[in-house]
């Protein structure tokens, strides 16, 4: 059975890329474009991992993480942001990994595998 990943990313091209690339690694990816949609998905499906951007329209990734921690502490979370500087925000320390966006997806893929024990 494929492991489920919830991807929260407002850039549609990146959603498509991550879906395909993580799909190729054998994961089922559900992509949503904002925090509200992510919370709705979490109510419907059981996920094994969450990957979230920080800067998004509406609620940002940090608020989303805080809310998820209140709901489900057991799902590992990877922050995937274009900003390095959010690493200094202690609210992001609640996440299990912080991967800065890069033209190569190698680091992201290896973190996903590590956190899912693959």
């Amino acid at each position: 059975m494929k492991k489920n990943i919830l991807l929260v990313e407002d850039e549609k091209a990146l959603c498509l890329l991550y879906e395909e690339e993580l799909g190729r690694e054998g994961y089922a990816v559900t992509a949503v474009n904002d925090a509200e949609a992510a919370l709705a998905e979490l109510g419907k499906t059981t996920f094994d991992l969450i990957i979230t951007d920080i800067r998004m329209p509406g609620k940002d990734g940090i608020e989303l993480i805080t809310q998820i921690m209140g709901l489900r502490k057991d799902i590992p979370i990877i922050i995937n942001s274009a900003y390095q500087s959010y690493k200094e925000d202690f609210m992001t320390w609640a996440a299990d990994a912080y991967v800065v966006k890069s033209a190569s997806l190698d680091e992201l893929k290896s973190k996903v595998k590590q956190l899912l024990g693959d």
Binding site: E11, L14, A82
Partner: protein
């Protein structure tokens, strides 16, 4: 009952005391949207105009670091030139703008002679044993110099240049610091300088000093704001550039794998092309924002600029699917701004209206005279509107509510309006559209 009066144009009777007229002109410098140099020229004009009751000539030194440097010289070179200048400046009803235009022409004329030579003079601003004219600034005292030729404290180079025996040195002070000095003389009429003239010139010097000080502080503040904006920009650019770069890198990697189906190859190439275009657009907008240097505002007819923008192919393409109502008053007045920036401002407002209004919406552009000295240009849309928290941040660099916006358009508009002394009004409620109204200073067509 309440009566209101305009702060900027006190309409004194023609026989009002000249002291009052003088202070009125100088005080206006604080409020005018012209450059420091233009406003300083008006201060010099105030000291030299008035059909012979003022001084004949005025020279300005400004303090740069610890040096006092000659900046500008205003005044006629001969008795004939003096007559014509004083006639212009004593014309009843002559306004601040006319004085500025007249002065710019006069200083340009003097540039090769008087002002050019004055600019070569530089003195230490706080040195013991300084020579006149710097001596007055160093001592922070007004000096009335007579029989200058036999006064050993007077710098000979300075004396050879001004060629008068009697002159007044007025130090310009602000918060007990020297910001400059004004030299006044009556080289043309040879009228003796009277104690009343000295007191009045001293008072003008006090106002001028504070004006220079506050303007310098304001410039420093703008510089600091700009630096802060640059820092914010660096952070913002990282994010803006990184997302398309990730897409380009990722989809290119996919193409490099063997046996990519044709359909996927085309799709990836299309995404890569679009993302590269987006990168180009970001770079263009950043470059545009950084290099924009606003020009001095002038009065011009906004009609041709408006027609140019409103009839442009870009606007016509964007307007498809919208009801675009254009209501421009016939015979528009001349407005005070920089024509190129004004065009950009109009373009930006229209872009925002189209971007935030769903197809089928109504966009209304209006241009009308608000009152005698104000022209309003407004763009109203029926789009998503602006929430109160967003309203407070609208003009901050890089603040945007648009999916693809850079958040620089309204920052640019604010810069333009600040430079020309205009105002911006925003009316909006979420879901009820928005109205952006720009109010420019205006005057009748010439």
């Amino acid at each position: 009952m309440i009566e209101t009066y305009n702060i900027l144009s006190p309409d004194f009777e023609r026989d009002a005391p000249r002291e009052l007229m003088l202070l009125s002109i100088i005080s206006q410098s604080f409020f005018q949207p012209f450059s420091l140099e233009d406003n300083l020229l008006v201060i010099l004009t105030a000291l030299t105009s008035g059909s012979g009751v003022g001084f004949n000539r005025a020279m300005l030194f400004l303090k740069h670091g610890d040096r006092l440097k000659g900046e500008m010289w205003l005044g006629p070179r001969s008795a004939e030139e003096a007559g014509s200048i004083w006639e212009v400046l004593s014309t009843p009803g002559i306004g601040y703008v006319e004085i500025i235009e007249h002065n710019r022409a006069l200083v340009n004329k003097n540039e090769d002679t008087l002002s050019g030579r004055l600019k070569g003079l530089v003195y230490a601003a706080d040195e013991e044993g300084a020579l006149i004219p710097a001596y007055a600034a160093c001592r922070k005292e007004i000096l009335f110099v007579r029989e200058a030729a036999s006064e050993p404290l007077v710098d000979r180079r300075f004396l050879n240049m001004i060629e008068v025996d009697e002159f007044l040195c007025i130090p310009l002070l602000a918060r007990d610091d020297i910001v400059g000095e004004i030299i006044l003389d009556n080289a043309i009429t040879r009228t003796p300088i009277m104690p009343a003239d000295i007191k009045l010139a001293g008072l003008c010097g006090l106002i001028a000093g504070n004006y220079i000080y506050s303007t310098t502080l304001h410039r420093k503040l703008l510089e600091t704001e700009k630096m802060a904006a640059m820092g914010e920009m660096a952070l913002f650019v990282t994010h803006q550039l990184r997302n398309p770069i990730v897409a380009v890198g990722g989809f290119t990697d996919q193409l490099l794998k063997p046996d990519v189906p044709e359909e996927k190859r085309l799709r990836n190439l299309t995404i890569i092309r679009d993302e590269v275009r987006r990168l180009e657009d970001i770079i263009y907008q950043m470059g545009h924002f950084l290099k924009v240097s606003l020009k001095e505002p002038v009065y011009f007819d906004p009609g041709p600029v408006l027609a140019d923008v409103l009839d442009s192919p870009q606007v016509r393409v964007k307007a498809q699917g919208y009801a675009l109502n254009i209501k421009l008053e016939p015979c528009l007045p001349q407005i005070l701004s920089d024509p190129i920036s004004f065009g950009e401002v109009v373009r930006n407002l229209l872009d925002n209206a189209f971007d935030t209004t769903p197809a089928g919406g109504v966009i209304t552009v209006r241009g009308y005279r608000k009152n005698r000295s104000g022209f309003a240009f407004s763009v109203r849309d029926t789009g998503k509107g602006i929430s109160n928290p967003d309203k407070a941040q609208l003009f901050r660099p890089f603040f945007t509510t648009k999916e693809k916006g850079m958040g620089l358009g309204l920052t640019f508009i604010k810069r333009v309006m600040d430079t020309c002394g205009g105002k911006i009004e925003v009316q909006s409620r979420p879901g009820k559209g928005a109205l952006f109204k720009l109010i420019f200073l205006c005057r009748e067509r010439e």
